[in-house]
């Protein structure tokens, strides 16, 4: 469970997050909103790359914001990036092992647990191939493997399907749906692909100009008047 209260982030005169408050209980939750709504800023606050001006984040009854950024991975926070960041000069195995060896988990089961994560995303055949030689779809999967390896508590997926063809998005959707049973982590999915979000997330929250404008069961949220207006503009709605 993660509880965000009154989170405010300012960059100079721009207020990216404006008193954002939300609760994500468990399973896979969606976070949507138009471009510039503050979704990635929210992820960057959770990762520790951005320091908020105000507000608190309690994750599993711990104060997330008081932790140093690199220690949050050790705590169990994982994330993927909008522009995929798999390490090109390392093999798929080393990419995933890299996360495992900086987590709380011991080295005794490292090999098994790393290969398990690689198996989970379906990259076992290329486990020892350098990431630099793989296509963008496989690289996205490497990032997902890095996010689920070991025992993550909170997984943040930032537009994991951006730039993927439909078939690969479908495969990715299937994986995201299986994350909670694989690792019991609370997963937050940010994406612009509404069919991906509604197929993966039972509940969804909506950000617009740094404010939460709706949250609840995904189907209800997507029908919400305010949400439709935020996405399509008032004119089209009428």
């Amino acid at each position: 469970m993660i509880e965000v209260s009154e989170l405010t982030v300012r960059f100079g005169g721009v207020t990216s997050l404006d008193g954002m408050s939300v609760r994500f209980e468990a399973g896979t939750c969606g976070l949507i909103g138009p471009n510039g709504a503050g979704k990635t800023t929210f992820f960057n606050v959770l990762s520790g790359f951005v320091r908020p001006a105000e507000g608190h984040v309690r994750a599993f009854d711990e104060d997330l914001l008081s932790m140093a950024h690199f220690r949050r991975a050790r705590w169990g926070l994982r994330r993927t990036f909008q522009t995929e960041q798999a390490i090109e000069s390392l093999s798929v195995y080393d990419n995933v092992a890299l996360v495992h060896e900086h987590s709380k988990l011991g080295r005794a089961n490292r090999r098994g647990e790393v290969l398990d994560a690689i198996e989970f995303v379906g990259l076992r055949d290329v486990a020892y191939v350098k990431v630099g030689t793989l296509g963008v779809g496989s690289r996205r999967l490497v990032e997902v493997a890095r996010a689920v390896v070991g025992k993550p508590r909170l997984v943040l997926l930032d537009e994991p399907a951006a730039g993927l063809p439909d078939a690969e998005t479908a495969h990715l959707g299937e994986l995201i749906r299986r994350i909670p049973e694989h690792s019991e982590a609370l997963t937050i999915l940010v994406d612009h692909d509404m069919s991906l979000v509604s197929s993966c997330c039972p509940v969804t929250a909506v950000l617009d100009f740094g404010k939460m404008i709706a949250s609840g069961p995904t189907a209800d949220v997507l029908r919400n008047e305010q949400v439709v207006r935020a996405y399509l503009g008032a004119e089209e709605f009428q």
Partner: protein
Amino acid sequence: MSTAELQSATPLATPPSAPRRVERADLVRTMVIAVLLVFVLIGLPQMLSVYYIDSMTQVAIYSVVALGLGVLVGRVGLISLGQAAVLAIGAWVAARLLFATSLPYEVVLLASGVITMVLGTLVGLPALRMRGLYLALITLMLAGAITVALASLNFPNGGHGFSGYNGTFVHIPSLRRPGIATTDPAYFRYSVIVAALMFLLVLAHVRTRPGRAWAAIRQSEPAALAAGINTTLYKLWAFALASFITGVAGGVLAGAVRYLYSIDFQTQDSITLLAVVLMGGAYSIWGAIVAGLLLQLLPAILNNAGVSPDWLIILFGIGVLQVLTTAPRGIVDQLPRDISRLGRRLGGLTRRSAASHGEAP
């Protein structure tokens, strides 16, 4: 076969063949390196004159210095223009210890490595806050400061006090060498063995946890942080490792030249060093050896032919330009690729001519 046996047999069969193939390639590579090392240790000193043996000793020393810079530039993405100054610190510390104590040479090397590591890591402190051009500039200024400090301090030459300088450049005692390596060919072998150990030390880092962390930092610091990597720690670790091996190389240098003068350590040497490291190949361990050959053997050959080695700066300039435009991974990557391409082209030519001969009758 019982079920238990079957179950225990299956996991052995399931892992993909990839890691085993990698292991075999590693074995072949290790054997090639071993044969090469034996040739360098036994064959080479017998084939070369003392002049070239001495310059090959320098190649061994500067390969280690290039390797240290290669770790920073190629592995972590930190440009340091202070490595020649770090080498000077290593040489100074070793010379001071060699005059002041009768410690075994290996202990002196280790001590100069450790002391240089501490000082070199301080040079690396600005790296925590900056990258690229500004880091290069700051490390260059620090190197300049070290050069100036060493010039006024002077290298130890058997005097007393902290500096160990006796105030004169004439009738000074030479630095001692290890008892097992007093002659030039023996000292060459000694240098190669020390260099090989330093290469192994770096390899042990690059292939394991720090190597993976450095690769992550080089590509993307946010991704490294998100993976739980303490980027501050690992950057300092890289500077510590580079400084340690450069300090050890300084210690070997002290025994190689036997007389050290501050005039031999110039700030701009660090720039030339970066140029040859880029030319050799900063991303490969072999690139460091190519860099050492470029930096020390090439001038020796030119000198022998009566050409001033100063011309090399022009060659290195062209070399860096060529590497940056056509072969970012350096000579060590480009040469084998070009040779195999040439081979294929020649092979294609002979096959084509053979085919046309076959058709003619």
